[in-house]
Point group: C2
Chain length 199, copies 2
DNA sequence: AACTTTTTCCTAATGTTATTAGTTTTAACT
DNA sequence: AGTTAAAACTAATAACATTAGGAAAAAGTT
Protein backbone atom coordinates (compact mmCIF):
# COMPACT_ATOMS: atom_id res chain seq x y z
CA UNK A 1 0.00 0.00 0.00
CA UNK A 2 2.55 2.56 -1.18
CA UNK A 3 0.93 5.93 -1.66
CA UNK A 4 1.17 7.75 -4.96
CA UNK A 5 3.64 10.14 -3.35
CA UNK A 6 5.87 7.28 -2.28
CA UNK A 7 5.71 5.74 -5.74
CA UNK A 8 6.61 9.02 -7.44
CA UNK A 9 9.52 9.46 -5.06
CA UNK A 10 10.80 5.93 -5.68
CA UNK A 11 10.55 6.47 -9.41
CA UNK A 12 12.51 9.74 -9.28
CA UNK A 13 15.17 8.28 -6.96
CA UNK A 14 15.65 5.44 -9.42
CA UNK A 15 15.83 7.84 -12.35
CA UNK A 16 18.46 9.94 -10.59
CA UNK A 17 20.64 6.92 -9.78
CA UNK A 18 20.32 5.52 -13.31
CA UNK A 19 21.28 8.87 -14.80
CA UNK A 20 24.17 9.22 -12.37
CA UNK A 21 25.51 5.82 -13.42
CA UNK A 22 25.14 6.76 -17.08
CA UNK A 23 27.17 9.93 -16.58
CA UNK A 24 29.88 8.08 -14.65
CA UNK A 25 30.08 5.39 -17.29
CA UNK A 26 30.24 7.83 -20.18
CA UNK A 27 32.54 10.46 -18.77
CA UNK A 28 34.22 8.85 -15.80
CA UNK A 29 33.15 8.43 -12.20
CA UNK A 30 34.47 11.86 -11.27
CA UNK A 31 32.51 13.61 -14.02
CA UNK A 32 29.31 13.32 -12.04
CA UNK A 33 28.02 16.75 -11.09
CA UNK A 34 24.76 18.15 -9.82
CA UNK A 35 24.62 20.42 -12.85
CA UNK A 36 25.03 17.67 -15.43
CA UNK A 37 22.63 15.45 -13.56
CA UNK A 38 20.02 18.23 -13.43
CA UNK A 39 20.61 19.03 -17.09
CA UNK A 40 19.81 15.47 -18.16
CA UNK A 41 16.81 15.19 -15.88
CA UNK A 42 15.57 18.58 -17.12
CA UNK A 43 15.32 20.11 -13.68
CA UNK A 44 17.34 22.77 -11.84
CA UNK A 45 20.26 21.61 -9.66
CA UNK A 46 18.71 22.62 -6.32
CA UNK A 47 15.75 20.32 -6.95
CA UNK A 48 18.07 17.35 -6.54
CA UNK A 49 18.40 18.26 -2.88
CA UNK A 50 14.85 17.07 -2.37
CA UNK A 51 16.14 13.55 -2.98
CA UNK A 52 19.74 13.53 -1.83
CA UNK A 53 21.57 15.64 0.70
CA UNK A 54 24.35 16.42 -1.79
CA UNK A 55 26.65 15.07 -4.45
CA UNK A 56 28.51 12.82 -2.03
CA UNK A 57 25.23 11.33 -0.89
CA UNK A 58 24.54 10.32 -4.49
CA UNK A 59 27.98 8.72 -4.74
CA UNK A 60 27.22 6.89 -1.52
CA UNK A 61 23.94 5.54 -2.88
CA UNK A 62 25.68 4.28 -6.04
CA UNK A 63 28.43 2.81 -3.89
CA UNK A 64 25.85 0.86 -1.88
CA UNK A 65 24.09 -0.25 -5.05
CA UNK A 66 27.44 -1.40 -6.42
CA UNK A 67 28.25 -3.58 -3.44
CA UNK A 68 24.80 -5.09 -3.39
CA UNK A 69 25.11 -6.05 -7.06
CA UNK A 70 28.64 -7.29 -6.37
CA UNK A 71 27.38 -9.59 -3.66
CA UNK A 72 24.76 -11.16 -5.91
CA UNK A 73 27.21 -11.40 -8.78
CA UNK A 74 29.87 -13.29 -6.83
CA UNK A 75 27.37 -15.61 -5.21
CA UNK A 76 25.94 -16.51 -8.58
CA UNK A 77 29.22 -16.77 -10.45
CA UNK A 78 30.95 -19.06 -7.95
CA UNK A 79 28.00 -21.23 -7.05
CA UNK A 80 29.04 -24.33 -9.04
CA UNK A 81 32.64 -24.57 -7.81
CA UNK A 82 33.66 -28.14 -7.00
CA UNK A 83 37.32 -27.84 -5.93
CA UNK A 84 39.30 -25.16 -4.13
CA UNK A 85 41.12 -24.39 -7.38
CA UNK A 86 37.82 -23.80 -9.11
CA UNK A 87 36.57 -21.75 -6.18
CA UNK A 88 39.57 -19.44 -6.39
CA UNK A 89 39.53 -19.26 -10.18
CA UNK A 90 35.86 -18.33 -10.23
CA UNK A 91 36.38 -15.76 -7.48
CA UNK A 92 39.11 -14.06 -9.48
CA UNK A 93 37.11 -14.22 -12.68
CA UNK A 94 34.07 -12.82 -10.89
CA UNK A 95 36.12 -9.87 -9.68
CA UNK A 96 37.46 -9.01 -13.12
CA UNK A 97 34.18 -9.69 -14.86
CA UNK A 98 32.32 -7.36 -12.53
CA UNK A 99 34.84 -4.63 -13.32
CA UNK A 100 34.48 -5.17 -17.07
CA UNK A 101 30.68 -5.22 -16.98
CA UNK A 102 30.25 -2.36 -14.51
CA UNK A 103 33.31 -0.16 -14.78
CA UNK A 104 31.64 2.75 -13.02
CA UNK A 105 30.65 0.58 -10.05
CA UNK A 106 34.04 -1.13 -9.95
CA UNK A 107 35.89 2.15 -9.88
CA UNK A 108 33.66 3.66 -7.23
CA UNK A 109 33.63 0.54 -5.01
CA UNK A 110 37.15 -0.81 -5.40
CA UNK A 111 39.30 2.12 -6.40
CA UNK A 112 39.23 5.69 -5.15
CA UNK A 113 38.53 7.81 -8.20
CA UNK A 114 36.77 10.61 -6.26
CA UNK A 115 38.99 11.54 -3.36
CA UNK A 116 36.36 13.79 -1.78
CA UNK A 117 33.99 10.86 -1.52
CA UNK A 118 34.32 8.80 1.64
CA UNK A 119 31.75 6.02 1.95
CA UNK A 120 29.43 6.31 4.94
CA UNK A 121 29.71 3.85 7.83
CA UNK A 122 26.53 2.16 6.71
CA UNK A 123 27.94 1.63 3.22
CA UNK A 124 31.27 0.43 4.55
CA UNK A 125 29.49 -2.14 6.67
CA UNK A 126 27.94 -3.63 3.56
CA UNK A 127 31.38 -3.99 1.98
CA UNK A 128 32.79 -5.43 5.20
CA UNK A 129 30.04 -7.99 5.19
CA UNK A 130 31.06 -9.27 1.77
CA UNK A 131 34.68 -9.54 2.91
CA UNK A 132 33.59 -11.62 5.90
CA UNK A 133 31.65 -13.90 3.58
CA UNK A 134 34.75 -14.48 1.48
CA UNK A 135 36.85 -15.13 4.59
CA UNK A 136 34.53 -17.84 5.87
CA UNK A 137 34.27 -19.30 2.39
CA UNK A 138 38.04 -19.72 2.24
CA UNK A 139 38.15 -20.88 5.85
CA UNK A 140 35.88 -23.77 4.89
CA UNK A 141 38.59 -24.90 2.45
CA UNK A 142 41.27 -24.93 5.16
CA UNK A 143 41.75 -28.68 5.12
CA UNK A 144 42.02 -29.10 1.36
CA UNK A 145 44.45 -26.25 0.64
CA UNK A 146 47.94 -27.46 1.55
CA UNK A 147 49.64 -24.44 3.03
CA UNK A 148 50.92 -23.15 6.36
CA UNK A 149 49.19 -19.82 5.81
CA UNK A 150 46.19 -19.06 8.01
CA UNK A 151 42.98 -18.92 5.96
CA UNK A 152 42.66 -15.12 6.28
CA UNK A 153 46.04 -14.75 4.61
CA UNK A 154 45.06 -17.17 1.87
CA UNK A 155 41.97 -15.06 1.28
CA UNK A 156 43.89 -11.78 1.37
CA UNK A 157 46.48 -13.08 -1.07
CA UNK A 158 43.78 -14.16 -3.49
CA UNK A 159 42.07 -10.78 -3.12
CA UNK A 160 45.34 -8.97 -3.75
CA UNK A 161 46.10 -10.97 -6.89
CA UNK A 162 42.58 -10.54 -8.23
CA UNK A 163 42.69 -6.84 -7.48
CA UNK A 164 46.12 -6.36 -9.02
CA UNK A 165 45.20 -8.15 -12.22
CA UNK A 166 41.88 -6.34 -12.47
CA UNK A 167 43.22 -2.88 -11.69
CA UNK A 168 45.89 -3.24 -14.36
CA UNK A 169 43.46 -4.77 -16.85
CA UNK A 170 41.08 -1.84 -16.33
CA UNK A 171 43.75 0.80 -16.67
CA UNK A 172 45.23 -0.79 -19.79
CA UNK A 173 42.52 -2.56 -21.77
CA UNK A 174 39.18 -2.01 -20.06
CA UNK A 175 37.24 -2.95 -23.18
CA UNK A 176 38.71 -6.40 -23.70
CA UNK A 177 36.56 -9.26 -22.38
CA UNK A 178 37.49 -11.68 -19.62
CA UNK A 179 40.54 -13.75 -20.51
CA UNK A 180 41.96 -11.35 -23.06
CA UNK A 181 44.60 -8.65 -22.95
CA UNK A 182 47.89 -8.26 -21.21
CA UNK A 183 46.52 -8.83 -17.70
CA UNK A 184 43.19 -10.43 -18.49
CA UNK A 185 45.07 -13.43 -19.78
CA UNK A 186 46.93 -13.97 -16.53
CA UNK A 187 44.21 -15.45 -14.31
CA UNK A 188 45.03 -19.02 -15.42
CA UNK A 189 48.73 -18.29 -14.91
CA UNK A 190 48.08 -17.03 -11.39
CA UNK A 191 45.91 -20.03 -10.67
CA UNK A 192 48.51 -22.45 -11.94
CA UNK A 193 51.04 -20.89 -9.58
CA UNK A 194 48.70 -21.25 -6.60
CA UNK A 195 47.82 -24.79 -7.62
CA UNK A 196 51.46 -25.85 -7.80
CA UNK A 197 52.21 -24.23 -4.47
CA UNK A 198 49.20 -25.44 -2.50
CA UNK A 199 48.28 -28.86 -3.89
CA UNK B 1 76.76 30.03 -16.29
CA UNK B 2 73.14 30.32 -15.27
CA UNK B 3 72.00 33.92 -15.11
CA UNK B 4 70.42 35.32 -11.98
CA UNK B 5 67.06 35.21 -13.70
CA UNK B 6 67.44 31.51 -14.47
CA UNK B 7 68.51 30.79 -10.90
CA UNK B 8 65.52 32.64 -9.45
CA UNK B 9 63.23 30.77 -11.77
CA UNK B 10 64.69 27.40 -10.84
CA UNK B 11 64.36 28.23 -7.18
CA UNK B 12 60.71 29.20 -7.52
CA UNK B 13 59.88 26.15 -9.65
CA UNK B 14 61.39 23.95 -6.95
CA UNK B 15 59.51 25.76 -4.22
CA UNK B 16 56.22 25.32 -6.08
CA UNK B 17 56.75 21.60 -6.60
CA UNK B 18 57.82 21.06 -2.98
CA UNK B 19 54.77 22.92 -1.72
CA UNK B 20 52.53 21.00 -4.12
CA UNK B 21 53.86 17.72 -2.77
CA UNK B 22 53.35 18.91 0.81
CA UNK B 23 49.71 19.75 0.11
CA UNK B 24 49.11 16.41 -1.60
CA UNK B 25 50.73 14.53 1.23
CA UNK B 26 48.83 16.38 3.94
CA UNK B 27 45.40 16.59 2.39
CA UNK B 28 45.40 14.05 -0.42
CA UNK B 29 46.58 14.22 -4.00
CA UNK B 30 43.30 15.72 -5.15
CA UNK B 31 43.40 18.52 -2.60
CA UNK B 32 45.99 20.38 -4.63
CA UNK B 33 44.58 23.69 -5.86
CA UNK B 34 46.01 26.86 -7.30
CA UNK B 35 44.43 28.80 -4.46
CA UNK B 36 45.96 26.71 -1.65
CA UNK B 37 49.30 26.65 -3.42
CA UNK B 38 49.28 30.44 -3.83
CA UNK B 39 48.19 30.87 -0.21
CA UNK B 40 51.17 28.92 1.07
CA UNK B 41 53.61 30.63 -1.26
CA UNK B 42 52.14 34.03 -0.32
CA UNK B 43 51.37 35.03 -3.86
CA UNK B 44 48.14 35.44 -5.84
CA UNK B 45 46.89 32.43 -7.86
CA UNK B 46 47.43 34.00 -11.30
CA UNK B 47 51.13 34.39 -10.56
CA UNK B 48 51.52 30.63 -10.69
CA UNK B 49 50.80 30.79 -14.40
CA UNK B 50 54.20 32.33 -14.89
CA UNK B 51 55.67 28.96 -14.00
CA UNK B 52 53.11 26.38 -15.06
CA UNK B 53 50.42 26.47 -17.69
CA UNK B 54 47.80 25.29 -15.20
CA UNK B 55 46.96 22.91 -12.39
CA UNK B 56 47.26 19.85 -14.61
CA UNK B 57 50.71 20.96 -15.68
CA UNK B 58 51.76 20.96 -12.03
CA UNK B 59 50.37 17.46 -11.59
CA UNK B 60 52.31 16.43 -14.68
CA UNK B 61 55.56 17.83 -13.28
CA UNK B 62 55.06 15.95 -10.01
CA UNK B 63 54.16 12.82 -11.97
CA UNK B 64 57.44 13.06 -13.89
CA UNK B 65 59.36 13.72 -10.70
CA UNK B 66 57.71 10.69 -9.15
CA UNK B 67 58.72 8.34 -11.93
CA UNK B 68 62.26 9.63 -11.96
CA UNK B 69 62.56 9.00 -8.22
CA UNK B 70 60.89 5.62 -8.71
CA UNK B 71 63.49 4.63 -11.27
CA UNK B 72 66.40 5.51 -8.99
CA UNK B 73 64.70 3.86 -6.02
CA UNK B 74 64.15 0.51 -7.74
CA UNK B 75 67.61 0.44 -9.24
CA UNK B 76 69.17 1.06 -5.87
CA UNK B 77 66.91 -1.25 -3.88
CA UNK B 78 67.33 -4.28 -6.13
CA UNK B 79 71.01 -3.87 -6.95
CA UNK B 80 72.32 -6.64 -4.67
CA UNK B 81 69.95 -9.41 -5.77
CA UNK B 82 71.71 -12.74 -6.26
CA UNK B 83 68.91 -15.13 -7.23
CA UNK B 84 65.69 -14.73 -9.19
CA UNK B 85 63.74 -15.19 -5.95
CA UNK B 86 65.64 -12.34 -4.39
CA UNK B 87 65.23 -10.26 -7.52
CA UNK B 88 61.45 -10.65 -7.38
CA UNK B 89 61.22 -10.19 -3.63
CA UNK B 90 63.23 -6.98 -3.77
CA UNK B 91 61.16 -5.72 -6.70
CA UNK B 92 57.94 -6.24 -4.77
CA UNK B 93 59.40 -4.71 -1.63
CA UNK B 94 60.66 -1.75 -3.61
CA UNK B 95 57.19 -1.15 -4.99
CA UNK B 96 55.50 -1.19 -1.59
CA UNK B 97 58.29 0.72 0.11
CA UNK B 98 58.10 3.50 -2.46
CA UNK B 99 54.37 3.79 -1.81
CA UNK B 100 54.87 3.94 1.96
CA UNK B 101 57.64 6.51 1.77
CA UNK B 102 56.07 8.68 -0.94
CA UNK B 103 52.32 8.14 -0.75
CA UNK B 104 51.58 11.25 -2.79
CA UNK B 105 53.89 10.15 -5.60
CA UNK B 106 52.64 6.57 -5.47
CA UNK B 107 49.03 7.64 -5.76
CA UNK B 108 49.70 10.07 -8.56
CA UNK B 109 51.94 7.70 -10.54
CA UNK B 110 50.31 4.32 -9.95
CA UNK B 111 46.71 5.02 -9.11
CA UNK B 112 44.32 7.53 -10.62
CA UNK B 113 43.28 9.78 -7.77
CA UNK B 114 42.68 12.84 -9.96
CA UNK B 115 40.52 11.77 -12.88
CA UNK B 116 40.90 15.08 -14.69
CA UNK B 117 44.66 14.60 -14.80
CA UNK B 118 45.96 12.65 -17.78
CA UNK B 119 49.75 12.41 -17.95
CA UNK B 120 51.32 13.99 -21.01
CA UNK B 121 52.90 11.82 -23.69
CA UNK B 122 56.33 12.87 -22.53
CA UNK B 123 55.57 11.79 -18.98
CA UNK B 124 54.03 8.52 -20.13
CA UNK B 125 57.16 7.74 -22.08
CA UNK B 126 59.22 7.97 -18.92
CA UNK B 127 56.93 5.47 -17.21
CA UNK B 128 57.00 3.20 -20.25
CA UNK B 129 60.77 3.26 -20.12
CA UNK B 130 60.79 1.89 -16.58
CA UNK B 131 58.41 -0.89 -17.60
CA UNK B 132 60.72 -1.86 -20.43
CA UNK B 133 63.63 -1.97 -18.01
CA UNK B 134 61.73 -4.36 -15.77
CA UNK B 135 60.77 -6.53 -18.75
CA UNK B 136 64.35 -6.96 -19.88
CA UNK B 137 65.44 -7.56 -16.31
CA UNK B 138 63.01 -10.47 -16.02
CA UNK B 139 63.87 -11.65 -19.51
CA UNK B 140 67.46 -12.08 -18.38
CA UNK B 141 66.23 -14.58 -15.79
CA UNK B 142 64.40 -16.68 -18.39
CA UNK B 143 66.66 -19.70 -18.03
CA UNK B 144 66.63 -19.87 -14.24
CA UNK B 145 62.88 -19.48 -13.68
CA UNK B 146 61.25 -22.84 -14.38
CA UNK B 147 57.96 -21.97 -16.05
CA UNK B 148 56.23 -22.19 -19.41
CA UNK B 149 55.16 -18.56 -19.21
CA UNK B 150 56.88 -16.10 -21.54
CA UNK B 151 59.04 -13.61 -19.64
CA UNK B 152 56.64 -10.71 -20.28
CA UNK B 153 53.89 -12.65 -18.54
CA UNK B 154 56.17 -13.49 -15.65
CA UNK B 155 56.93 -9.79 -15.31
CA UNK B 156 53.27 -8.78 -15.61
CA UNK B 157 52.23 -11.31 -12.99
CA UNK B 158 54.85 -10.02 -10.59
CA UNK B 159 53.74 -6.45 -11.28
CA UNK B 160 50.11 -7.37 -10.69
CA UNK B 161 50.86 -9.08 -7.38
CA UNK B 162 53.05 -6.22 -6.19
CA UNK B 163 50.43 -3.70 -7.24
CA UNK B 164 47.58 -5.62 -5.62
CA UNK B 165 49.37 -6.01 -2.31
CA UNK B 166 50.50 -2.39 -2.31
CA UNK B 167 47.17 -0.90 -3.32
CA UNK B 168 45.41 -2.79 -0.57
CA UNK B 169 48.12 -2.01 1.97
CA UNK B 170 47.83 1.69 1.14
CA UNK B 171 44.07 1.78 1.37
CA UNK B 172 44.00 -0.14 4.64
CA UNK B 173 47.10 0.61 6.68
CA UNK B 174 49.20 3.18 4.82
CA UNK B 175 51.14 4.09 7.96
CA UNK B 176 52.46 0.65 8.79
CA UNK B 177 56.03 -0.02 7.64
CA UNK B 178 57.11 -2.62 5.12
CA UNK B 179 56.35 -6.14 6.28
CA UNK B 180 53.56 -5.20 8.67
CA UNK B 181 49.79 -5.09 8.43
CA UNK B 182 47.19 -7.22 6.73
CA UNK B 183 48.72 -6.96 3.26
CA UNK B 184 52.20 -5.74 4.07
CA UNK B 185 52.87 -9.09 5.66
CA UNK B 186 52.02 -11.03 2.50
CA UNK B 187 55.07 -10.38 0.33
CA UNK B 188 56.93 -13.42 1.75
CA UNK B 189 53.76 -15.49 1.30
CA UNK B 190 53.48 -14.43 -2.33
CA UNK B 191 57.14 -15.13 -2.89
CA UNK B 192 56.91 -18.57 -1.33
CA UNK B 193 54.08 -19.40 -3.73
CA UNK B 194 56.12 -18.26 -6.73
CA UNK B 195 59.18 -20.10 -5.46
CA UNK B 196 57.29 -23.37 -5.07
CA UNK B 197 55.74 -22.98 -8.50
CA UNK B 198 58.81 -21.94 -10.46
CA UNK B 199 61.80 -23.65 -8.80
C1' DA C 1 74.80 55.14 -11.19
C1' DA C 2 71.10 55.79 -14.43
C1' DC C 3 68.46 53.70 -18.02
C1' DT C 4 66.10 49.97 -20.41
C1' DT C 5 63.84 45.81 -20.69
C1' DT C 6 62.17 41.62 -19.28
C1' DT C 7 60.19 39.09 -15.81
C1' DT C 8 57.09 38.69 -12.18
C1' DC C 9 53.29 39.96 -9.79
C1' DC C 10 48.98 42.12 -9.17
C1' DT C 11 43.88 43.46 -9.71
C1' DA C 12 39.73 42.69 -12.11
C1' DA C 13 36.79 39.81 -14.47
C1' DT C 14 34.50 35.39 -16.41
C1' DG C 15 32.56 31.05 -16.04
C1' DT C 16 32.13 26.78 -13.50
C1' DT C 17 30.82 24.31 -9.45
C1' DA C 18 28.09 22.88 -4.81
C1' DT C 19 25.07 24.42 -1.76
C1' DT C 20 21.48 27.25 1.10
C1' DA C 21 17.43 30.23 1.78
C1' DG C 22 13.13 31.50 0.67
C1' DT C 23 9.15 31.34 -2.41
C1' DT C 24 5.98 29.57 -5.75
C1' DT C 25 3.90 25.90 -8.06
C1' DT C 26 2.15 21.36 -8.38
C1' DA C 27 -0.26 17.54 -7.26
C1' DA C 28 -1.68 14.28 -3.88
C1' DC C 29 -4.88 13.59 -0.22
C1' DT C 30 -9.32 14.72 2.25
C1' DA D 1 -13.38 21.88 -4.21
C1' DG D 2 -10.35 22.88 -0.59
C1' DT D 3 -6.21 21.80 2.16
C1' DT D 4 -1.65 20.59 2.65
C1' DA D 5 2.62 18.62 1.87
C1' DA D 6 5.93 17.76 -1.53
C1' DA D 7 8.67 19.29 -5.20
C1' DA D 8 9.93 22.58 -8.13
C1' DC D 9 11.77 27.21 -8.86
C1' DT D 10 14.78 31.82 -8.48
C1' DA D 11 18.35 34.23 -6.26
C1' DA D 12 22.43 34.36 -3.81
C1' DT D 13 27.03 32.86 -1.68
C1' DA D 14 31.44 30.95 -1.70
C1' DA D 15 35.20 28.16 -3.71
C1' DC D 16 37.61 27.19 -7.73
C1' DA D 17 40.57 27.65 -12.55
C1' DT D 18 41.73 30.60 -15.76
C1' DT D 19 42.50 34.94 -18.85
C1' DA D 20 43.47 39.87 -19.84
C1' DG D 21 45.83 43.82 -19.08
C1' DG D 22 48.53 46.82 -16.36
C1' DA D 23 51.86 47.91 -12.33
C1' DA D 24 55.90 46.82 -9.84
C1' DA D 25 60.30 44.87 -9.35
C1' DA D 26 64.46 43.17 -10.44
C1' DA D 27 67.84 41.89 -13.72
C1' DG D 28 70.77 43.24 -17.50
C1' DT D 29 73.05 47.16 -20.00
C1' DT D 30 75.25 51.45 -20.89
Amino acid sequence: MASQREKNREYMLQKILDTARAIMRESGVAALSMHELARRLEIRPPSLYNYFSGLMDIYDAVFRLGFNLWGEHVLDYTKDAQTWQEEIRLSMEAYMLFAIKNPELYQLCFERPVPAFVPSEESLNISRGHLEDFYSHIASLENVIKTDLPPEQVADLVIAIAHGLTALHMSNEPNLPLGQGRFGVLIPAALSVLDKAWS
